[in-house]
């Protein structure tokens, strides 16, 4: 379509998501802007591209930390909505982009964008986290992100025959570790006391973390709340 005075929107991205109102996109943008970290992570942008040259995701995806910093700095509500729905999950969160001469933290901006996207239940983010729920379940409930019993050949076929060998020997290998805090454990990485876990659950409830999970995955939320509430009530 040729650009005419009627459809020209200078300095702003085109509306690629007409199903979502501009007001809703503005509301999401303001949530990003009002995050306490926003002003620590963004000071404007020279558009120099140094962040892109350091960015692993820019090498593999159609992804650019420069575009993210620029769009957010220009308060380009449409473009930021595109980024929320199309780009944020490609970031590797390595923070190589903090080489920025403007002292920006584009990776940190992505973290804020992701958080806003999850909190508001954007479908694209739910899709990106498909298959990830079991990890959230593990870390929130057990206080460890990963455990040996997650190393199953079905999940890690690309890691080769080692995984098969490992899963056959897991129980005995785990007993053959000299650290008391690890020895023998297969469903957690290290032993976390019950009192410690109850404190962790308190944090999840008090910090508003459970509301985020509810928005992300209702059945995961139900599962977590059931166990945590019961444990907390037992004290």
């Amino acid at each position: 379509m040729p650009t005419t005075l009627e459809n020209w929107n200078p300095g702003k991205a085109e509306n690629r998501h007409p199903d979502v109102t501009y007001e809703e996109k503005e509301r999401l943008f303001l949530e990003i802007k009002n995050d306490i970290r926003y002003h620590d992570f963004l000071y404007g942008c020279y558009e120099c591209g140094i962040c892109v040259s350091a960015c692993p995701s820019a090498r593999f995806y159609d992804f650019s930390p420069r575009v993210i910093a620029q769009a957010v700095a220009r308060e380009d509500v449409e473009r930021v909505y595109d980024i929320l729905t199309e780009d944020i999950w490609n970031c590797a969160q390595c923070f190589s982009c903090v080489r920025c001469p403007r002292q920006n933290n584009p990776g940190g901006l992505v973290t804020i964008l992701r958080e806003v996207s999850i909190k508001n239940g954007l479908q694209e983010s739910k899709d990106a986290l498909q298959g990830y729920s079991r990890v959230i379940y593990k870390v929130m409930l057990k206080g460890n992100q990963v455990s040996p019993d997650m190393l199953q050949p079905d999940f890690f076929p690309d890691w080769g025959p080692w995984v098969q060998n490992f899963s056959q020997n897991m129980h005995v290998w785990r007993k053959a570790i000299p650290m008391d805090s690890i020895r023998g454990l297969t469903d957690v990485a290290w032993r976390v006391e019950r009192k410690t876990l109850l404190e962790l659950y308190t944090i999840w409830f008090e910090s508003g973390n459970m509301d985020i999970i509810k928005e992300l995955d209702e059945s995961l939320y139900d599962l977590l709340v059931d166990v945590m509430k019961e444990e907390l009530e037992e004290g």
Partner: protein, 405 residues
């Protein structure tokens, strides 16, 4: 008119070691802000215990690294998937009779999950950190952080807590429910800084000659990119242009450290990617790291200092073989190679069997008869299977061995 800088001038400048003046640092010293908050009674500042060593960080400031009385803040990835990493750190402490505490009143920092899913928030993340730090304070031991991500994440949270009163207030409200105070340690210390501080001591008690070995180093992103000013630099190492940890340790052990052009690149871990989108992780680890190391340095081993980096660089190599990529570099941590150099059992302590890229040629090049120690370890496992032994203990693992005898 400003004089133009020629390429020769830039190269000349870069050929000299960088010494940095703390007075000219571009950022405010975090310590000053912490002392102010302590003076106002807003936080308890846990002091670095004696004995400690001071090193220079990126902008010329000093950082205190404790030698003992440390609270070992464990890493999910170490303990879950590379246990020889954690046991090597503790084994090294035990060799020198250093006082340490291996707590069970510790949770994950949950940073891996946060960087993968963002299914948390600033208050939740800060409270998890503060709970762990309060738990350490209660024991009297000082936190030593095993995981690079926990280290980076905690440094960033410390910044947020210092700069945002509303965050401090929220975290304090949550800690109150557990009867805990808001404690921030005077330094946030990564275990690889302790390894760096101890390197000469390791070399003095080295039992395995490592001078035949060439190693590459992968500096862990979350160690030196997040709150970059807090990483240790030394003009003697890479002219002060890259962090000194790991490389200085290897040099002290007599290892030839070889350079490669993509040293700044991440490993490809990606947090979410390594769990549910590994095509990116595998490709990046192989194409931008392992293959470049192979082509440019052909090392016997690559050494890093974080959880995700060891796993990613090691486990990504298998699938690449099918595509006939140049792979086959075993991956270890600085703590593991230091322990091996001092005669730690390759399986009881270093736990090579958890690593999948073939490590046998590396051990053979060192003159270590790995088969002998594997057979010994199999005897342990048989006894565990038969129920005559409940597991390996420090009693089985403490004694250093003349591995190359």
């Amino acid at each position: 008119m400003t004089e133009l800088t020629t390429v020769e001038q830039i190269l000349e400048k870069k050929s000299h070691p960088v010494t940095r003046d703390a007075e000219a640092a571009p950022t405010q010293d975090m310590h000053e802000l912490l002392y102010e908050l302590e003076a106002k009674g807003e936080i308890i500042l846990q002091k670095v215990p004696e004995p400690y060593v001071e090193f220079t960080t990126k902008y010329g400031r000093k950082k205190k690294i404790p030698i003992e009385h440390t609270w070992h803040h464990k890493s999910c990835g170490h303990c879950g998937h590379i246990p020889g990493y954690a046991s090597s750190i503790l084994w090294l402490h035990r060799q020198f009779g250093l006082d340490y505490h291996d707590p069970t009143d510790q949770t994950s920092c949950t940073g891996w999950n946060y960087y993968a899913s963002a299914a948390s928030n600033a208050v939740g993340q800060a409270s998890v950190m503060a709970r762990n730090f309060a738990a350490a304070y209660e024991t009297g031991y000082f936190p030593l952080i095993h995981c690079g991500t926990s280290f980076g994440h905690y440094k960033e949270i410390r910044e947020q807590l210092v700069h945002h009163k509303e965050l401090r207030d929220e975290v304090r409200r949550i800690l109150d429910k557990m009867g805990k105070p808001l404690v921030i340690p005077e330094e946030i210390v990564h275990y690889s800084e302790w390894v760096y501080a101890m390197r000469q001591k390791f070399a003095e008690r080295q039992l395995v000659d490592m001078s035949s070995i060439t190693a590459t180093v992968h500096p862990a992103c979350h160690y030196y990119k997040i709150i970059a000013e807090d990483a240790i630099y030394d003009p003697e190492i890479y002219g002060g242009q890259r962090t000194a940890v790991v490389t200085a340790v290897l040099q002290e052990l007599g290892i030839n450290v070889a350079d490669y052009s993509t040293w700044f690149d991440c490993c490809g871990f990606g947090f979410r990617h390594v769990l549910v989108q590994r095509d990116f992780t595998r490709s990046f680890a192989v194409l931008r790291k392992i293959e470049v190391m192979k082509n440019e340095a052909n090392p016997d081993v690559t050494i890093t200092h974080d959880t995700g980096c060891v796993t990613t660089l090691d486990k990504s190599q298998f699938a690449a073989k099918a595509h006939e990529r140049k792979v086959g570099i075993p991956v270890l941590s600085d703590a593991q190679i230091a322990a091996l150099a001092m005669g730690a059992h390759p399986f009881r302590v270093v736990q090579f069997h958890w690593h999948s890229t073939d490590w046998r040629p590396f051990l053979e090049k060192l003159g270590i008869n790995w088969q002998k120690y594997w057979d010994e370890f199999q005897t342990d496992l048989d006894a565990i299977r038969a129920g005559t032994k409940s597991g390996i203990t420090w009693q089985d693992a403490d004694q250093p061995i003349k591995l190359t005898a």
